[in-house]
Subunit: 345 residues, 2 copies
DNA sequence: CTGAAAGCGCTTACAG
DNA sequence: CTGAAAGCGCTTACAG
């Protein structure tokens, strides 16, 4: 049998042979079960010292194969480098590592096929649970996991038809509050700049906008609504803004359903030499730090990144525990976290 | 023996039993060695069809234990959410997944102990190689890996005393060019805003600054040099800028050794109501997209994120191949990539 | 063309 | 207080 040359690695066997003990005894000591198994203190000391000296590192692959757990969770993001996703990833990693879980991360690039492949790969690699910011499209693979009671938490996006644990924000309420605030401040021709409104997350944000208009008795002006295709949004938003300014020159406000679009619009305004901070009422779901300089008067509903990360990991680890202890499948948790509103007058 | 209840998983054994074949045969077909081993086409078809129908997923943990390889690489970053690091992480994931490698990611939080723990954890989990943006401090664990010829590539920071593969940028040259450009444009009192100058990376950037001054016959003014402690840099930079403006009111330029400090300085300038784009010559190593609006005239040396990611993965996979084929230890590669300069006049 | 069996490095029920 | 042995689910040298 051919075994790949790997550099010298100390095994339980090596320690056992050196000390004239059985592998069993060594394993028990090093896995902290020595007292439970009644190993003498003297032996415990010997084993620990020897393991230290030889710089023993357990082979966790072997352990995983044996116990059926890897202490690893898988995270699937549409994009690793996106500001929001990478912030959530950071919180997830932090929380997970506190509980001794490692993190595998992969990018679906907003592509269902890739997402499915990653889901299958993660399962094949034996992750204990999966965290997913899903992309749109067929959900066969996800449904299979849920049906099998595989620990899975979705976030950011929400699919009412899937009975999965999920952590999202109060999309409609925050959007409603932001739009209402703009209206209260006297703006009447508020454009809605969004992307992918067919996704529940984005759809709810649009709903909030519309509800605020309706309550104020402002008629919806379709010329003020821009649905930016996400692919090449940098180009598409230029066209969309051009046509809004052409069709509705009296536009006096902008509600952006994501900070990414807001940022891109600022670039557009800036290129056009517009004094957009003075001339328009601005609002956006989420922000980045540079908004403080770029658009100091923008109204923002800030996503609670830390809480999102914490909730996700809490739920997932509970799921994992549950499954390991053979519990009944409990009802899925659907967490909705409030955004923090930063309103200017 | 107690085995954790995991949901029904199809094994090679299940397929073998169903088809009245041996596990060996099934394994050979599914791992693409059927022709080599002379399995009849008919059997091949049967096996493939059955595996498909039963939705067979190989247990990669078992495979890994057997072959001593996991097809997984580990990535250690000081911070996952940092703009530069998450961009590099994205490229690494992309390149790695193309080659069928998965990515484990962990954050050292710029803490040597954590870094060491992660290195040990990654090894225990059997990653095939490690990519590391190292933090300062003792390098015992890294040296051990290098000594053992474990596939390892460092990036962003460089330690001359470590004989490791590394991918960095031309820190001194880019800094020299940026500073020289400011001088050519007539600025004479250029402040140097840096952090951690004892790190080779940052030290080289400072050297570039000093070389440009020296060549121009400008005497180094220590009052214009600010070394911002990285911890709480948001607070520390305020103090540092305050004292620069107090000590050298005629300061007319700023060279930032990282975009993070530049961004924070813009916030400061902005809060003070300074017209910093008009009054100062600005330069920075790396940027973020909002610089286009915030500081349209800043001179920038842009880090080649894509090339960095590609080089890292290329080298690491070559290291892995090398070790697996039992090659001699080849000389370590120390790649220095040029930044792209964006100079304004 | 196909299979029985050993082995990867652990964990743990069972025996003494 | 300690150990021999089975098993986790694969891969593969060897035999036929």
């Amino acid at each position: 049998m051919y075994q790949i040359t790997t550099y010298m690695r100390i095994l339980l066997k090596d320690i056992a042979e050196k000390l004239n003990l059985s592998i069993t005894t060594v394993s028990w000591v090093l896995s902290g079960q020595a007292d439970k198994k009644g190993i003498s203190k003297a032996t415990q000391e010997l084993v620990k010292k020897c393991a230290e000296e030889m710089d023993y590192q357990p082979n966790l692959i072997a352990r995983s194969l044996n116990i059926g757990r890897t202490k690893t969770i898988g995270l699937i993001l549409p994009s690793i480098s996106d500001d929001f996703y990478s912030s959530v990833a950071r919180e997830i990693e932090k929380k997970a590592s506190e509980q001794d879980y490692a993190l595998m991360i992969a990018s679906s690039e907003a592509n269902v096929e890739k997402e499915d492949n990653i889901l299958r790969m993660f399962r094949a690699k034996g992750v204990d649970g999966i965290i997913l910011a899903p992309t749109k499209g067929s959900k066969v693979e996800i449904e299979r996991l849920i049906k099998n009671n595989f620990p899975l938490v979705m976030f950011d996006r929400f699919f009412p038809e899937l009975d999965a644990d999920s952590v999202i924000i109060d999309n409609k309420e925050s959007s409603y509050q932001l739009t209402k605030h703009l209206i209260n401040r006297g703006y009447r021709n508020i454009a809605l700049i969004t992307t992918n409104p067919h996704l529940t997350t984005m759809g709810n944000r649009c709903d909030g906008y519309m509800q605020a208009l309706e309550e104020a008795g402002i008629k919806l002006n379709l010329s003020l609504i821009a649905n930016i295709p996400y692919k090449n949004y940098e180009k598409n938003i230029v066209k969309a803004l051009d046509s809004i300014f052409e069709a509705v020159p009296e536009v006096d406000g902008f509600f952006f359903t994501t900070h990414i679009l807001a940022l891109e619009a600022f670039l557009y305004f800036n290129n056009k030499g517009m004094n957009f901070n003075e001339d328009f009422g601005l609002a956006s779901i989420h922000s980045v730090s540079t908004f403080k300089i770029l658009a100091p008067k923008i109204n923002v509903a800030e996503m609670p990144v830390v809480e999102i990360g914490e909730n996700i990991v809490d739920i997932l680890l509970k799921d994992i525990e549950n499954r390991d202890s053979g519990q009944e499948i409990r009802e899925r948790l659907k967490i909705v976290l409030p955004c923090t509103l930063y309103l200017n007058n």
